[in-house]
Amino acid sequence: MLLLEVKNLDIDYKTQEGTLKAISDVSFTLRQGESVGFVGESGCGKTTLAKSIMKLLPKNGSISKGEIIFKGEDLVKKSKEEIRRIRHLKIAMVSQSAMNSLNPVYTVGDQIIEGILAHTNMSKKEAAKRAEEVFSIIGLEGKRLKSYPHQMSGGMKQRAIIAMALSLNPDLIIADEPTTALDVVVQDRILREILSIQKQMNSSMIFITHDISVVSEICDTIIVMYGGKIMEKASTKIFFKKPLHPYSLGLKNAFPSILDIGEELISIPGTPPNLMKNLSGCRFVERCPFRTTLCQSEMPVLREAGEDHLVACHYIDKHEAFTEAAELRETWEAVRSRIIQEKEEGA
Amino acid sequence: GGKEVVGPDNDVEMGDLVPSITILSSLPEANMVNYEMAQELVEELQKLGVDIKAEPTDFAVLLDRLYGEEGDYDAYTIGWSGRVERLDPDMFIHSINHSDNADPGGNNTNRYRNSAFDALADAQRQEMDINKRREYVFQAQQILAEDVPNITLYSRANVQVYDKERFDNVVNIPGEGLFNEWTPMWINPLTEDKILRVASNINLDTLNPLAAKSVYEWRNLRLIYDKLVRLSPEIEPIPWAATGWDVVNDTTIDIHLRDDMKFHDGVQVTAEDVKYTYELFIDRKVEYFASFLAPIDSIEITDENTVRFGLKYPYAPFITNTLTQIPILPKHIWENIDDPNEYANEKPIGSGPFIFENFRRGEELVVKTNKEYFEEIKIDGYIFNIFASPEGVLTALELHNIDMVSYDLVPAHIDLIKNNDGGKYNHLEMTEAQDIGFFYIGFNLDREPFNNKDFRIALSYLVDYDLALDVHLNGYGSRGGGGLVINAANEYWYNPAVPIYDTYDPERAKEILEEAGFTWDSNGKLRMPKE
């Protein structure tokens, strides 16, 4: 059963310099119990996408097109009050800066209880009990509920936030880089907890990170974003064996792994596109080693490239050649000189 | 080497440049007219090529300069207020012009020294015969008018108001205005409410006669405490708490007390009280009266109701100034007080026409009439209301909250009341009394160019006396003139026959200077006559 269906979503930010197209034409689906990981470079629109689902976009941001169908209803069309009732109860969020997401002047317990009371008829006592329950689920002592945020370590705060998100058994958890600021040891533990709880509760999860190894460990599906668009979507297993999009290929090259033995890292030259401009072709065109004129004029749509595998590239068929070439340093060096050259011409 | 060329050749032939002059003037908020007049004089003198500037100076700083050891000043503006005791000419003739007082610290801050004048000033002081004394005073005025040791700019008028719908029979005295010692005693209430409400814009601070410093404190204290002699509205000394006095000789005076006087606590007033009080004031060095008490040599009780004062030297103002001022204190209270100077005296007990009721600092003093007093008083008492600023008084007058003001209205308010916009001041009667005090520009006669009499005379032609009176005082006051110290309002002592320099005529000033040998150099700067 489909829990969430995002269709042709466009999100704009109004800025002093003009309109910034943070998300353009993004579509994806999420099944009950499925966890999907969003990865991509900084500024590619991951947070924007997450926030749009909860309709938490900043004042200057707006959904200009598209539908977000959650349990059969289009969230875009819902009123403020209706959205408010869905938030936390149905869709809960663990935000990017969990560290600062707790109000410093209230105890952690109060803040969890407050969330519960906003959506149920529970008494304060019951809510407190529930808070204790979720605290124990994520491995914190109940007495910690009385702590103020500043009395807790980063890892504990992060867990408290997760506990908060779980307190009403939401259908969907949106976790925006919940572990980025944490140590590996702590991160590891929290990831494990998230994973086990999500499986246990059978909620769906949208997990945002820039660390593909994290996705590989905890998500069923991976979505690679670039410049406000989805470049590739696949089940994690398939993706890590056989990424198809040139950008994904580049990412894999650039990612050092603790298991690797002396393979040389190759980065993707260039920078992400300026979303302020009106971009017509493929978003990755500037940095793509395999581009053609077609790529420059036409944005490829997300296409089926196998079971559970969607790719937005005009040349899916050539992926084998691409994969081979992508492992070579020269391929990417060529891009670098190309970019420099283009700049010079532009200047 | 070589010759220094100062200017065209004939400059060298001339006298010295007139030194640069600083007039220490009042600050505008302290005395606007003085301030303005000093500025005017500066402009006039600048036109005549004198290097001069005005320096508005804080009053305390001014006094420091005038009375300090250094005597470092050229000219200044200041004034003498017209307190009633100053109707006696001694203060203005002797204190401020006698050469004895011309040293640092003395009141003769003009450093005026004229032996002929000194002789007259001494003579009037010691002459107990009033007519002869008047003759001396007249002559002294003549000399001052010729020598112009200072230039009197103006005298203020005491413009005050009272509520004519509620009271009549008020007394208006030069130098004192409406709230004098007679008005509360004689005023006649026209309505059932027989409490007189007096407005003041000056604070009362203490009711201790030994600590009182302001005129306003005294104006109230002298109604609570009685005095041996009071000055009548015509400024004649009349025995009050005394039945009379005998001038035994030039230095011995007997005072005969009344025998029907009681303090407010019921205790009889005796000669002991009088002797005690005078000795207390002398002993305690009460600054306010120090100069009046200085001549007293001895005080004796000669019989039950007679006190004999022995003087060190003949002192003509003894009755008019000394006896009219010292309040009689109850010995039985004061002898038990450790430090009378610092005593709070929160419930003053006197023997005067009014009995103290209540005093709240900064707000009001309430007194009721002494029904057992030897004179009949028609009101039931009065409230002395202290206002923070004249603005408040004006509002209170509009609201009929006040029956009388005790200070001189500021010109802006005089106009407002006169215009009587909308008839809101219909109930008020405005009174005017000339002040015997005066404001003047004084000079340091020890310094050039003020040591030059002609220069001073020329200066007196540079002062626009009409401007001061008509523009700055709005007409409420009287004109000044060179060397004028006894005001026409002081009818008895004023010598109308003396011609004084009191016209504004810059051309004439120039002529006088030229005649006196002053010259202008090629830069237009005024130079002193060549020796």
Partner: protein, 306 residues
């Protein structure tokens, strides 16, 4: 302690990627959008013009008395063709006085602000950068000045010194550098922690070089902003002191005009005499406040409208 909102948030000016553009371009850009700031600039230019050319603009000598055809003094006349702002109780032209007062206000404002920011910024930079004992000592001095109530102190100081605008400037400066010092210090503290300062140290830059070449340019926007506040503060202080009667009576200033108006008992009847100098103060200060608002947006990008 007194954290001005400005100081706490300034840090982000430099850290934010988009806003590291120059100070003035952003400001000018702001002017285009912010009408109030534009009004402020225009008004300020107007006042500065009036201040510079005051002697030409003022139609009369400020002390000149005016008489009517019958030779009577034009006492307390309401505004008219001849006297735009009316006359005083001795027939003086209030318009001329107000115009000349502009000069005084601007002189005091600008000089005091310069002095204050100079001292305050120097102390702030030295304290913030040096840290340790120097910082502690300087900050105790700042604390000391914070404990002194402003107006009463300036009253006393102007009474001790002779009444003159120079002494008012001195008095204002003596007490106000503390604010600038503290704000600058806190900003310097945060700048000094930033890696580019560390990098400079690693490169071997001397302390003075770091202070002058690295820290100073980065606190200049804040200093400019504070300077604008100080101009206002000083003008207000001068007016207040003069109004209380501690000003220089021979120097026409707005506070002085109001003081004379008040002490001569005309503040309740001659509205034109009370209103005009006050309005001048309001307009001048308002113009600078409008400008500081735009400046503030430059210094603190979070205040900017997107």
């Amino acid at each position: 302690m007194s954290k001005t909102v400005v100081s706490t948030s300034i840090k982000s000016f430099f850290t934010s990627k988009k806003n590291s553009q120059g100070f003035f371009p952003v400001f000018i850009n702001n002017l285009k959008r912010d009408k109030l700031a534009l009004i402020g600039v225009i008004l300020l230019i107007f006042f500065i013009g009036v201040g510079i050319f005051a002697d030409f603009i003022a139609p009369y000598e400020p002390r000149e008395r005016h008489y009517n055809e019958e030779g009577k003094i034009r006492r307390l006349e309401a505004p008219s063709k001849d006297h735009w702002f009316g006359t005083t109780d001795v027939g003086r032209d209030i318009f001329s006085q107000v115009v000349l007062g502009t000069k005084t206000a601007l002189t005091v404002g600008i000089l005091a602000a310069l002095l204050v920011t100079l001292v305050g910024a120097t102390v702030g930079i030295i304290a913030g950068y040096s840290g340790g004992v120097v910082d502690a000592v300087l900050m105790r001095i700042v604390d000391f000045f914070y404990a002194i109530p402003f107006i009463p102190f300036v009253i006393i100081l102007s009474a001790v010194l002779k009444p003159s605008i120079w002494n008012i400037i001195l008095a204002v400066s003596l007490l106000s550098w503390r604010t600038v010092a503290r704000l600058v210090r806190s900003q310097v503290l945060s700048i000094a922690k930033r890696p580019f300062i560390k990098a400079a140290k690693v490169a071997g830059a001397s302390h003075s070089r770091i202070m002058v070449k690295y820290i100073l340019p980065n606190v200049i926007p804040l200093i400019l902003l504070e300077m604008a506040f100080m101009v206002n503060f000083a003008i207000m202080a001068e007016a207040s002191i003069a109004f209380l009667g501690f000003g220089d009576p021979q120097k026409p200033s707005w506070g002085q005009i109001l003081h004379i108006n008040f002490v001569t008992g005309n503040s309740r009847s001659a509205w034109w005499w009370t209103a005009t100098p006050g309005l001048a103060i309001v307009l001048l200060l308002l113009s600078i406040f409008f400008i500081t608002r735009a400046l503030e947006e430059v210094v603190d990008p979070r205040l900017r409208r997107r």
